[in-house]
């Protein structure tokens, strides 16, 4: 007799055991250590931290190892861990103007206070496979220079001094948090930026690219892109002053976009903003373009129907953990629903055939 097979506990256990074996791969090849992943797969670690919304390179490395290098799966592991962590409080806003920059480039000024610092970038490498890397080896040491002690002010601050760019006054209201409140639309810019900061890099990139190709064009210049470390400070009520609890690496992008003006106000440049944990400049630039495109209403522009302008579309679909979960759930059993449809189609076909026969 046929017995309907519906999976079950033994199948799940066996699948997990097989997965663990596959994850390890050929046991004669040495196992990856977390330190190796953290140090040599740093950009993957950064992406997992950014989209997982948890700054912890060691945990991100563990997640990558456990996920067999599937970064969205690794982000998922981090998110599921993060949600169980207690909250002690919020830090003070980090001061990116005081960032110890590894990299800082401006596309709008040839030279500027603080200078252009290329830093460790792929930008001008030729994308030729380096077969020497296949054999292990330590690269020759990079040339050193003393860290400059001059300040590195923001380009937008320089433009602001002449009133050339829109003002962005500081706000005292606490930032909203979509991991603690349900997303309600319309969303504030702060909430949109939070959603974009943890959004899928590929989705954000494609949306940003679409604005460059005319779907919600904003004429963006990279006013400045900076990567480096900033101090994280928390106020301790018992002490009455802020204490530095550590440093995080951030990538920040300010775009300078086309004008806004009115009868009462002369034209000025407008801003798009991107801030991402770790070194993640593709994501930071994309984020600032999408941020700017989403601001059409506030800046009195027309809604052209472009996806990148559509807040509900962007915010509802930018999270890769939500997307991948819902997408992949369609491989779960649906026999009950399918059976219901099957009955319906059969009945409708039967009726259609009967009607045809009656007509003949």
């Amino acid at each position: 007799m046929y017995v309907a097979v519906k999976g079950g506990e033994r199948a799940i256990d066996a699948a997990h055991a097989w997965l663990a074996e596959e994850r390890r791969g050929d046991p004669s090849v040495p196992e990856l250590t977390l330190a190796q992943i953290r140090e040599q797969m740093a950009l993957a670690v950064n992406r997992v931290m950014a989209e997982g919304s948890l700054y912890d390179p060691d945990l991100a490395a563990l997640a990558i190892k456990q996920a067999r290098g599937d970064l969205i799966e690794a982000v998922f592991l981090i998110r599921a861990y993060r949600t169980t962590l207690p909250r002690f409080g919020a830090s003070r806003p980090v001061d990116t103007a005081a960032m110890a920059v590894d990299r800082r480039v401006s596309a709008t000024f040839k030279d500027l206070p603080g200078g252009q610092v290329l830093g460790p970038t792929f930008d001008y490498t030729h994308r030729l496979l380096d077969f020497a890397l296949a054999a292990e080896g330590t690269p020759p040491p990079a040339p050193m220079a003393p860290a400059p002690d001059e300040p590195v002010p923001h380009v937008t601050g320089l433009l602001d001094r002449d009133g050339l760019i829109e003002r962005q006054p500081a706000e005292d209201t606490p930032a909203p948090d979509l991991t603690r409140q349900p997303l309600e639309l319309p969303a504030s810019r702060a909430l949109r930026l939070q959603a974009l900061a943890r959004a899928d890099e590929g989705f954000t990139l494609s949306l940003a690219y679409s604005t460059q190709r005319g779907y919600g064009r904003t004429h963006a210049f990279v006013g400045e892109l900076r990567i480096g470390r900033v101090a994280v400070e928390v106020e301790l009520p018992e002490l009455g002053f802020a204490v530095e609890i550590g440093e995080v690496e951030l990538t920040e992008c300010d775009t300078v976009n086309q004008f806004k003006g009115s009868k009462t106000e002369p034209p000025q440049f407008t801003r798009g903003y991107g801030l991402v944990m770790g070194q993640s400049e593709r994501k930071a630039i994309s984020m600032s373009l999408v941020d700017r495109a989403l601001r059409w209403q506030e800046l009195g522009e027309d809604f052209t129907g472009a996806p990148a302008q559509d807040e509900e579309f962007v915010l509802s679909h930018c999270d890769n953990i939500q997307s991948t979960g819902f997408l992949e759930h369609i491989k779960l059993p649906h026999y009950v629903d399918f059976q219901a449809e099957l009955e319906l189609v059969r009945r409708m076909r039967r009726e259609a055939v009967q009607m045809q026969e009656a007509a003949e």
């Binding site: 007799m1 603690r180 991948t324 059993p333 009950v336 059976q339 449809e341």
Partner: protein
């Protein structure tokens, strides 16, 4: 085995309190979708995160939990969710509908009538019944506010004009207590009548969409229809080949490559109980009904 690293039933108490508040609001406004701050769960979105959060918020150490998917206790995702709560809450589990105090379900309502004191938790993929008529949340919320359900009736009418009947076989929309139009989650419309007047508390959790809604015990729940096209709860026109039941919802199983089929109860507990009572179906090992 309980995992000591996590709180009882995984979620921290603050989160559970937040979910319970949403549940109480949902029960106070039957059929209304209450936004809640859905958490990331260690299972993927779309795989029951909403149901699992509702279950976690309802469970007490004395509860007895049953988890079903497609009506069955032994489907892989039901096994996975049941294990999750065994591990994080250490509660007793059962496959018997009558013995469970909390039942988490995907796509079915158990055949055995529920009783007072039981909680049925539905996993919901898309909580908004109007979503496929209007993709924007900002618009659909307004439509609910204004009780503006004309679009839904037009859709049902167009079905009849095109197919001669309402071509919705599952997730068939209902109206709760004469007010909110509600998506009963993708249960077959065969199950819709069980939503009405049910003595159990029915809770619906949509994790990815961050919505909770509810049908309180003994509520009025009506499947949308027209006077000249009344709602019909349909199922495969067969008896269960294992237990002979003529009144339960059936899964169709293809048994060879020549199109031979068998029909079996989708509710495994119902089918097993009937077989234990001596009921027999066409393909039962011991032959036909004694």
């Amino acid at each position: 085995m309980t995992d000591q690293a996590y709180n009882f039933a995984y979620l921290d108490e603050q989160t559970k309190r937040m979910i319970r508040r949403a549940l109480l609001k949902a029960l106070a406004i039957p059929g209304y979708q209450v936004p809640f701050a859905s958490r990331e769960m260690p299972m993927p979105y779309g795989w029951g995160t909403g149901g699992a959060q509702v279950t976690a918020a309802c469970l007490t150490p004395d509860d007895r939990l049953k988890v079903i998917d497609q009506g069955a206790d032994d489907t892989t995702n039901a096994v996975s969710i049941r294990r999750f709560f065994q591990r994080t809450a250490g509660v007793e589990t059962t496959e018997r509908t009558a013995e469970a105090t909390v039942i988490q379900t995907r796509h079915r309502i158990p055949e055995q009538p529920l009783s007072e004191g039981q909680i049925l938790v539905y996993q919901v993929p898309i909580p908004e019944p109007l979503r496929f008529l209007e993709p924007r949340e900002t618009e659909t919320r307004k439509m609910h506010e204004l009780e503006e359900y004309g679009l839904m009736h037009v859709k049902l009418y167009e079905d009849i004009a095109r197919h001669g009947e309402i071509a919705t076989a599952y997730a068939y929309p209902v109206r709760v207590e004469g007010r909110y139009v509600m998506d009963p989650s993708p249960i077959p419309k065969f199950d819709n009548p069980k939503l009405a007047g049910n003595p159990a508390i029915q809770l619906f959790g949509a994790g990815r969409e961050a919505r909770i809604y509810a049908v309180p015990p003994y509520s009025d729940v009506v499947s949308l229809d027209f006077e000249d096209h009344p709602f019909v709860a349909s199922k495969a026109d067969h008896e269960c080949d294992l237990c002979g039941s003529a009144g339960s919802y059936l899964d169709e199983v293809i048994t060879d490559d020549r199109g031979t089929r068998m029909f079996v109860c989708s509710d495994t507990d119902f089918c097993a109980s009937r077989q234990a009572q001596g009921h027999r179906g066409r393909l039962s090992p011991q032959g036909a009904t004694p």
